[in-house]
């Protein structure tokens, strides 16, 4: 089986500083893989590197096809939905406009309509907020909108950068529950970046741990979760 995403010896640079020092990992179709690590480990940089939003060296294959060097928008058009750090919603636009922009690349009207209904079903609150300016949504609602925007692309892979960030535990639970449903029902593979390791390991089937731009540990999520030594030394809980 061809991996959905394969990353090989990935290096990333911000000007002169190198943030990733040869990261290698892969993601199976339909799976949820989590990328864990402390502040500044390079999690966000890894997601940005996959979408060519930072200067990178290394091989990246999406569904067997090399995508390194493609422009961000072209990578996205291959079916990569990126929910960025900070959520990246268009704050001056209404919720409805945000969702319409998200479906900009699609020409299948019926499919877009279906995905709209799917989004409303996952996040009913968004349907009630359609006319509201996105910048005035609550943090949780904005995160829901950010996930919905990625979903409206009709992606096969979603890159999620700390969807739990800054949200109340109940909202986080709700969002993670929906993410599991999206993964199962829409058959979307997920690469989930989290600082909240316990939470991410509940959802994911595979885990990698990053430390200062290098992968220092990987394994099945269930193994990592049950191995206290690993948890203590790498994840700090």
């Amino acid at each position: 089986m061809v991996a959905l995403l394969e990353v090989e010896d990935l290096k990333a640079f911000y000007g002169q500083t190198q943030a990733l020092h040869g990261v290698t990992f892969s993601l199976q179709p339909g799976g949820i893989t989590t990328l864990l690590g402390a502040n500044g480990a390079g999690k966000t940089t890894t997601l940005r590197a996959i979408c060519n939003m930072v200067r990178t060296v290394g091989a990246i294959r999406f569904d067997g096809r090399p995508i390194e060097g493609l422009a961000t928008e072209e990578i996205v058009r291959c079916g990569v939905g990126h929910v960025p750090e900070g959520r990246g919603t268009f704050t001056n636009m209404s919720v409805d406009e945000n969702l319409r922009v998200a479906a900009y690349t699609r020409s299948d009207k019926a499919g877009v309509e279906r995905d709209r209904e799917m989004v409303y079903e996952y996040f009913p609150i968004l349907k009630a907020r359609l006319a509201q300016q996105a910048g005035t949504l609550s943090g949780g609602e904005q995160q829901m909108l950010a996930i919905s925007r990625a979903l409206m692309l009709g992606p096969r892979l979603m890159l999620l950068d700390e969807p739990s960030f800054g949200l109340a535990p109940l909202i986080v639970q709700e969002i993670f529950r929906i993410m599991r449903r999206i993964n199962g029902e829409a058959k979307v593979g997920m690469l989930l970046v989290e600082q909240n390791a316990a939470l991410a390991l509940e959802l994911a089937d595979h885990a990698y741990v990053l430390e200062t731009g290098r992968i220092v540990m990987s394994g099945k999520a269930s193994d990592v979760k049950s191995n206290e030594a690993i948890r203590k030394s790498y994840l700090g809980y």
């Binding site: 939003m53 961000t72 996205v76 990246g88 001056n92 922009v101 900009y104 925007r149």
Partner: protein, 301 residues
């Protein structure tokens, strides 16, 4: 009283042109954060093209449609070919490029069509109607065309996917890319639209100021004034700003003349119109730096 109304009406008509130019400036500013100093010369060049087509026997509106399209292509080309390589260049180099463009279009027009002033026919029928004592048909036409243009642009940006994508690209390029929007093309498209709007502005003002390579020099300043007063980042604001500048400059000059007539004291008159416009700009920017209709983004953190 009649004179006052006349001044307001002609102020609105001039304002329409300022509004068009302001709209073109805003179009480029929101997508690229640049102020296109060459906008006036581009409009002038387009007006010459329209004139040329009319000389060759075309109807004004057909000529304008063709030239608007050609100008659109010129705008796209300018962005893709000249400005694209300068994306990360310092602002000063970009300003220099704009000034270079200005000089190029200016001398090109002079070289092709000469520097003598040319008559430019008004496209609007010269008929008498109620109120034609206050405002001429061409002036009404300018106002109507400007409003139509604004409505068309508003609908484009609000309702069409492409318009929405252009707004997204202007607002948050990184997020727009993550939605699969080809942001670079959106910038070029913004340039194209600005050039097309400029073509309309140039062709509407040419019958008033006559056709010559310098025709847009002072008008562009008023366009800047309109854009700054209304809010350089707000298309609707720019149009209103253009009208405000047009009316105010007339009114203030009118009041100045009145004052001179009654008291003999000369403070301000027709000669100081441009100064008035600049004073309006400075006043508005001091009181409200984002312009009268500048965006206030509501953000919740």
């Amino acid at each position: 009283m009649e004179q006052l109304l006349q001044q307001v009406a002609s102020g609105l008509a001039n304002g329409a042109i300022y509004a068009c130019l302001a709209l073109a400036l805003v179009m480029i500013f929101v997508s690229t954060d640049h102020i296109n100093f060459a906008q006036g010369e581009l409009s002038m060049f387009s007006a010459y093209l329209v004139w040329q087509l009319i000389q060759w026997g075309l109807n004004f509106w057909l000529a304008l449609a063709i030239v608007a399209f050609v100008s659109f292509l010129i705008g796209v080309m300018v962005e893709r070919v000249i400005l694209r390589p300068l994306h990360s260049a310092p602002v000063l180099s970009i300003v220099v490029v704009f000034i270079g463009l200005l000089a190029i279009f200016h001398s090109l027009a002079g070289a092709i069509w000469g520097h003598t002033i040319k008559d430019f026919p008004s496209p609007f029928p010269n008929i008498a109607f109620a109120g034609s004592g206050y405002i001429g048909p061409h002036q009404i036409g300018m106002i109507l065309v400007t409003i139509a243009l604004l409505v068309a642009l508003f609908s484009f940006f609000r309702f069409t996917p492409l318009g929405l994508a252009m707004r997204a690209a202007a607002q948050n390029p990184a997020s727009a890319r993550l939605a699969g929007i080809r942001v670079d093309w959106m910038l070029a498209l913004g340039w194209g639209l600005a050039a097309a709007i400029g073509a309309v502005a140039g062709s509407l003002v040419a019958p008033v100021v006559y056709l010559e390579p310098n025709m847009m020099a002072s008008i562009l300043l008023y366009g800047f004034a309109g854009a700054l007063v209304g809010g350089i980042a707000s298309p609707g604001g720019a149009v209103v700003g253009g009208f405000i500048v047009g009316v105010l400059e007339n009114l203030i000059a009118y009041l100045g003349n009145l004052l001179e007539k009654t008291t003999g004291v000369y403070i301000i008159g027709n000669g100081e119109k441009l100064t008035v416009a600049l004073i309006i700009v400075i006043t508005v920017l001091t009181l409200k730096p984002s312009g009268l209709f500048g965006h206030v983004t509501v953000k919740r953190v």
